[in-house]
Symmetry: C2
Subunit: 245 residues, 2 copies
Amino acid sequence: MSKEATSPSLYTSFSPALLNLYDISNSIVVVIDVLRATSTIAAALKNGAKQIIPVDSVDECIRIGKQMSAITAGERDGKVAEGLQYGNSPFEYPETFINGKTLVLTTTNGTKLLHMALNNGANEVITGSFANLDAVVEHINKKKKSVLLACAAWKDKINIEDLLFAGAVIQQVKDNFSINCDSSKIALSIYNEAAPNIFQYMKDKNASHFERLSSFGLEKDIEHCLTSNTAHVLPIYKDGKLVKG
Amino acid sequence: MSKEATSPSLYTSFSPALLNLYDISNSIVVVIDVLRATSTIAAALKNGAKQIIPVDSVDECIRIGKQMSAITAGERDGKVAEGLQYGNSPFEYPETFINGKTLVLTTTNGTKLLHMALNNGANEVITGSFANLDAVVEHINKKKKSVLLACAAWKDKINIEDLLFAGAVIQQVKDNFSINCDSSKIALSIYNEAAPNIFQYMKDKNASHFERLSSFGLEKDIEHCLTSNTAHVLPIYKDGKLVKG
């Protein structure tokens, strides 16, 4: 990996519980929640959503949804949460439905991390998923700033799929960054092992989130969320809203 | 990986900052600090040390050392810390020197984790490293209790070498435990990638701790710490002391 002193640094945080270990005051933070928050965010923005407001509770989702006459969405245990209109699947937000609209989305792990990244003084907060892999890669290559790839995990427990996306980014940008970070090297190794067939890898490993979502009948969602470049957009988090960059 | 409901569970924590995510009240916790605390602990006990008292500061090391007329040891930045007698290298504790003696050892990451594991109510706390790999494997296979493999990391940042040891354990015990834990699966993958030559792997990856210790001229230590089964002992942590199990 490139070691040029002039290269910006790249680190990977495997869990929100580790985020505080990294000085992100001059960094771009890429929030990663592959299954399914950041995948759905990419799909909805690509399909023309005006903005997405991530919130961390169903109550807040209902409240803000009413206030803004917006679409409310979120799931609990694989079903649309009581009081909300839609779920967390990227398939629920085709252009014919979401174009021009505001979506209030309740997620647990992803929203927490977006807030943490801003509160810790990140220079810029964007979201990443396989859906917008190339858009993330192009952006961080162009900006030439330090980067933290921040995995949302599951209630702070490390997830394979978020590491796989971090590794996919690293695989493409590694010559442009100084990567003195064991976590990044681990993510890259795992990605390279999985790369021939990421969906099959998750299935074979019986990854915890794969198992959880499959039990809700969501294999189609998983397959879509592990497919690269279905939504070439760059969601930027500003003033509590995700908008197209 | 085995999924029998009757099998005890096995989890892996990549950093002390993640330890609180696991209920260890009925578990054996294996504290892992491959470079070099738990490797040196295994070597000293194998060579006849009566007991090892891990402490987290140089001052406490000096104080307890005087109180017990014990050997004091610890390093800061690759050199014996001021006021202490010996360093953190397993080579410093041959039988001719350490047999029958008490060693007070100051380590940062390892000691913190030993205390945390006890305070969180672990059923038993032992230490693991490549030096005593088979002793750890035999013990946890025999006990048939749930296990948490707890990596000491470096100031909470994830280290490749601690994951490699966790993976080496998992590779040997995976049929006897129920492993519904992405971290364990990641550790196993990394271990299998590295297994043909772990030292070379650490070197090729330019692992952060490899780089740090090499810069102090400690490549020989690293090589020894990555070698399996040089010390067939089981260090058990009880009443603030590590003794042979």
